[in-house]
């Protein structure tokens, strides 16, 4: 049994709730394009990950979800000639471009207020990451977070910033971008434009650098390194019209007539190297906080749209209108049958399914969706 589940009854309770979801809501499970060219994978509640699966149609997917009731179900971003073969023999044909924005990468100040530490071995609550578990003395810690409304506001803003770059700078049409709530604490952006399908990891890594603002240098605004940390400046014929050069020019308040102003600024900062550092820090600050590995990996399997996330019991769902989408309500689709659970933390307050719950270190009667949510996060256990 995985350490994620405190007991077989927790596991059984969550699995039953998931099975009921797949019975009732299999219409939400999406049919991926070119389904027979995708690799699928699933995580079971007890035996771990199985990859290299293939399905010919969505009915086979429904059957697997109901029959096996996996804790998590994944689909590749890639298209293969032979999806069931081992990785080197699959015959890679291309892959959707996918971005992941997660609350944990945003450095939000609210995170400490809803972060919980648990013993990774026995699930006992801990005050911090330090020290052994008070119950089993194990040193490994599991950190869980209950994202708050501030997290989702910040995530939504980050997603919008990414969409602006993708449309304005990379020329993508809105119709080629789909935004999904990941089912826990983030969003996935899928790019369906076929022009991007054939990009290898190296090209995607370069693209990721652009989004993050990584690897930027003073050259982007025409500043080159001379001898002895001195600089030569030659503004590009392209000017500061678009993209990073425009963002930096705005920050530095320069235009193509500002040669002496820029020279003074660089000297004031201490020369080429220091100016480069200043630019990199600024780019890092305003760059979009995507998870680079997710986008670079062209063989990755992603949680599939319409399936449940075992970290929360929430669904991964497409956000038709990002502004109106409320993850903690719209993606909360498990039943509301009440069950009794033991809530581990004291003074736990969270919003889910349109309700606000206050639970505190005791037996609580909660709707199934809320009970599953807390059990998946290790913050409650069945009685």
């Amino acid at each position: 049994m995985s350490n994620l589940w405190n007991s077989t009854s927790d596991l059984s309770f969550v699995r039953n709730a998931f099975r009921e979801y797949y019975f009732k809501h299999n219409d939400l499970v999406e049919t991926p394009s070119r389904i027979n060219e995708r690799e699928f994978g699933l995580m079971t509640f007890q035996t771990g990950m199985t990859r290299h699966l293939s399905f010919n149609n969505i009915r086979e997917v429904y059957a697997t979800l109901i029959r096996n009731t996996p804790s998590d179900f994944y689909c590749s971003n890639a298209y293969y000639n032979f999806p069931t073969n081992s990785m080197q023999d699959k015959g890679w044909k291309g892959a959707d471009l996918i971005f992941d924005i997660d609350a944990k990468d945003l450095g939000l100040s609210c995170e400490v207020t809803h972060r919980y530490h648990l013993c990774a071995n026995c699930g006992e609550m801990k005050d911090s990451t330090d020290g052994p578990c008070p119950r089993c003395k194990n040193l490994t810690v599991r950190v869980e977070s209950i994202p708050c409304s501030n997290c989702f506001i910040s995530l939504r803003n980050e997603v919008k910033k990414l969409i602006t770059i993708l449309t304005d700078e990379f020329g993508l049409g809105n119709e080629n971008i789909s935004v999904y709530f990941s089912g826990n604490s983030g969003f996935h952006l899928y790019i369906y434009d076929a022009c991007f399908h054939h990009l290898d990891s190296r090209a995607r890594s370069d693209l990721v650098g652009y989004i993050l603002g990584n690897g930027i240098g003073p050259e982007v605004i025409g500043v080159r390194k001379g001898a002895n940390n001195k600089v030569s400046i030659k503004f590009s014929k392209i000017g500061f019209r678009y993209g990073w050069s425009m963002r930096l020019a705005r920050k530095l308040r320069i235009d193509q007539s500002s040669l002496s102003k820029l020279t003074n600024l660089i000297n004031k900062l201490g020369g080429y190297e220091e100016f480069g550092k200043y630019i990199r820090e600024y780019a890092k600050e305003i760059g979009i906080k995507i998870d680079p590995q997710v986008t670079i990996d062209i063989h990755r399997i992603f949680r599939h749209g319409g399936t449940l996330n075992s970290k929360s019991g929430l669904s991964k769902l497409r956000c038709v209108d990002l502004n109106k989408f409320d993850p903690l309500n719209d993606a909360c689709l498990l039943s509301d049958t009440e069950v009794q659970v033991y809530v581990k933390p004291s003074n736990l307050k969270f919003k889910l399914g349109g309700h606000t719950f206050t639970a505190s270190h005791r037996k609580e009667k909660l709707p199934t969706y809320a009970a599953v949510y807390l059990i998946c996060k290790g913050l409650a256990t069945t009685i």
């Binding site: 290898d200 890594s205 370069d206 650098g209 652009y210 240098g217 014929k237």
Partner: protein, 335 residues
């Protein structure tokens, strides 16, 4: 509007230039005629200059240039030396690159400029390049076409974050846009050499080719010592190098750091890079010494991890790799 004969002189590999040759009904045995002697000598000099790592800059009228280009291809093919094929292709590409930069910078007629872009980028390599509507000295390429090419370049300046990107295009100057297709042009010329089928070649040409082969055939035998000891990523890179392929910087770095880590001498590692078409002993030696921590910042570079190599498409993992996380562990496993 059509390209003129002056353009064929600079870009003799263009389809239009080939038509000129076809119309002149020239057979290989006609290279025996006395008036062709000048062309063949010129072609041999061109190849010699290139084998010395330089660009042949002399430019004459188009009839001479197109025939010299063809003669050089024949001579190179007759040498039967793969390294000469590769090096000639690369330096021919660099020669055309220099002309094209000049033309794109100085040509005032935008239609002519657009035609050149079309004939070279679109016709040969299926890449669309436009002139920026706001500045005729600026060119733009689709961002995905750019990424496919630029991601093989090591210098930070080529990273797309250091370029102007807007509306799905990357904006570049003449030098940048031309440099992006150097490898493709080089491969294009290389394939022309490979595809040539020659018979009844006049003796003077055969003799010239033999002289070139004798002079520029690698003087050492490129032997991979106990190749089974190497992990598949290194073996793959060495295989490509032995065929004179132009390895990306990341692959060269992987090979050099690996060889340093397994205790190979600087000299023996420099020798490994000999077959590279752009090989320059002085530069190669400096770079390897730099990686060894003997030059520059005195930092010794580590062999990139398997995951890093995987992300750079340099990983060719086999079952023998097991669960190793660095190519160096493969060797230790084998031992």
């Amino acid at each position: 509007m059509k390209l003129g004969t002056a353009d064929f002189a600079k870009y003799p590999f263009l389809n239009e230039a080939s038509k000129f040759l076809a119309e002149s009904h020239l057979d290989v045995d006609e290279f025996n005629r006395p008036e062709m002697e000048y062309i063949i000598d010129r072609a041999a000099v061109r190849v010699e200059v290139e084998m010395q790592g330089k660009i042949y800059k002399n430019l004459e009228r188009h009839e001479v240039e197109v025939l010299t280009f063809l003669s050089a291809l024949i001579l190179v093919k007759l040498t039967k030396v793969e390294q000469i094929f590769k090096k000639h292709s690369l330096f021919e590409a660099m020669r055309a690159e220099a002309f094209l930069i000049q033309d794109l910078r100085s040509e005032r007629d935008e239609r002519k400029k657009q035609l050149l872009l079309f004939e070279i980028f679109k016709e040969l390599f299926k890449v669309e390049v436009d002139i920026d509507p706001e500045n005729a000295q600026v060119f733009r390429m689709k961002v995905t076409d750019y990424l496919v090419r630029s991601s093989h370049f090591h210098e930070e300046g080529w990273k797309v974050v250091n370029k102007t990107v807007h509306g799905g295009y990357v904006y570049l100057d003449a030098e940048e846009i031309v440099r992006l297709v150097r490898n493709e042009l080089s491969n294009f010329i290389y394939e022309k050499i490979r595809a040539m089928s020659l018979s009844n070649v006049p003796q003077p040409m055969v003799q010239k080719a033999n002289d070139l082969a004798l002079k520029f055939r690698p003087t050492f035998e490129y032997k991979l010592p106990r190749i089974s000891d190497y992990p598949p990523c290194i073996k793959h890179a060495l295989d490509l190098m032995s065929k004179g392929e132009n390895l990306p910087h990341t692959a060269r770095l992987m090979v050099a750091t690996y060889m340093l880590s397994v205790g190979k001498s600087i000299d023996s590692i420099v020798t490994l890079f000999h077959p590279a078409p752009d090989f320059n002993e002085k530069i190669t030696r400096y770079q390897i010494e730099h990686l060894a921590g003997l030059k520059g910042g005195q930092t010794r570079y580590n062999v990139p991890s398997c995951s890093k190599l995987n992300s750079e498409d340099l990983c060719f993992r086999t079952l023998d790799c097991g669960e190793i996380t660095n190519p160096l562990k493969f060797r230790r496993r084998a031992e």
